[in-house]
Subunit: 214 residues, 2 copies
Amino acid sequence: MSDDGVSRKERDRLVRESDFLDSAESLFAEMGFYETSMEDVAKRAEYATGTIYRYFESKETLYHALLLRKGRQYFGQTQVVFEKSNDPLLQLRGLICCKVAFFAENWDFLRIYMTELAAKTGGSARACRPPQELDDDFENYLSNLRDVFVRGMKAGVFRKLNPDHVVAAFIGMSNECLQTSLAEGVSGDVLEEIEMFVFDFVSGGIVTEKGRSV
Amino acid sequence: MSDDGVSRKERDRLVRESDFLDSAESLFAEMGFYETSMEDVAKRAEYATGTIYRYFESKETLYHALLLRKGRQYFGQTQVVFEKSNDPLLQLRGLICCKVAFFAENWDFLRIYMTELAAKTGGSARACRPPQELDDDFENYLSNLRDVFVRGMKAGVFRKLNPDHVVAAFIGMSNECLQTSLAEGVSGDVLEEIEMFVFDFVSGGIVTEKGRSV
DNA sequence: TCAAATAGTGAATAGGTATTCATTCTTTGG
DNA sequence: CCAAAGAATGAATACCTATTCACTATTTGA
């Protein structure tokens, strides 16, 4: 037994699981869910095809597991931001910072997550349904985010716009910015630039005083 | 021969093609490319499975054809906007108007297009590759859009921000807004609201004077 | 060291679906 | 009205890949 009550065997199993999840994540991001075969995943993880099934019931289970792993981690981090402060502007900054940092570290996941999201709103054009658990976390995130904007409007620091639209706009623009910016490679500078840009754009838009007066 | 030099037979063929494209479009939007079988498409169009192959070489060809049909139409309309005026602010307004109107009429296509786009930037997590022709149109659209922002910055009506980020932000936020807003049903009011919101958000962001001074 | 238990293997199975094609139905032109 | 040409049909084919499982290899505990 190790210090945290997890046997060597269990740890081994977790490592193996994680190997499969990593392979699957990178392959799904690169090729897509359907273009990736279980054999591909196994090969990348350096195991035989059948071995995966000792760790995951099915391809769908594997997919769910990888979505949950990173997804919950991400929503967990946003939750901290929501709870840390009550100031809408600070929360907004915190969320952006959190998002940029997380997705810079989890580029493959971002790709998968965005495909999910693209398919989500309308109904179903998706690889295969994401786990309910994650949907719930996402709903919760949405409602917290909406709340930030609503409070900001009440406090007079945000303009009074349709908060649902603001939520959509914020999510869409930040995702797309991250996706295109991180497409190449990432350096610390780029990260900071994106973070600043997103905040700047969300807060002030693009039109100048001069533009407004025309 | 009809007035435009198209025989009855040819017109028939076009109608049939269009039937298949319509079925495929709604099914792909609803279920996704891989979850939709050729039999489903045929059934919805009220034909036998084999008949599709008299009109389209393969499932991929069918998919390409439906992307091209609407895609080119959309990019054609944006092209008109780019050429109609030289004033960045007017062009921006025009593009938003054009986008909202087009996607309100082509909701299914928007769903497919967004899945495409989500997969695009990174590399490939897509149903199956979109036709090169459409990629080219998209590239062209991107560069024209970028140009609008760059000119606006030069003219002093837009703030000097990284134009590539602005392009991404604009596309992402407008897509996401459309997707979530149009998710339910569409009425004229909603359309106008979205159009105004998108312009408002892009131009002025969400922070008020008061928010800025804190 | 050995036998039981556990883990890994990859060829075989099973099910699904894109695509084909021999056949049947419909249209056309004489 | 008839035969040839064109269109439609849907059962059969061919292929692909998720999943299984009998077998081999490794680890464990005595």
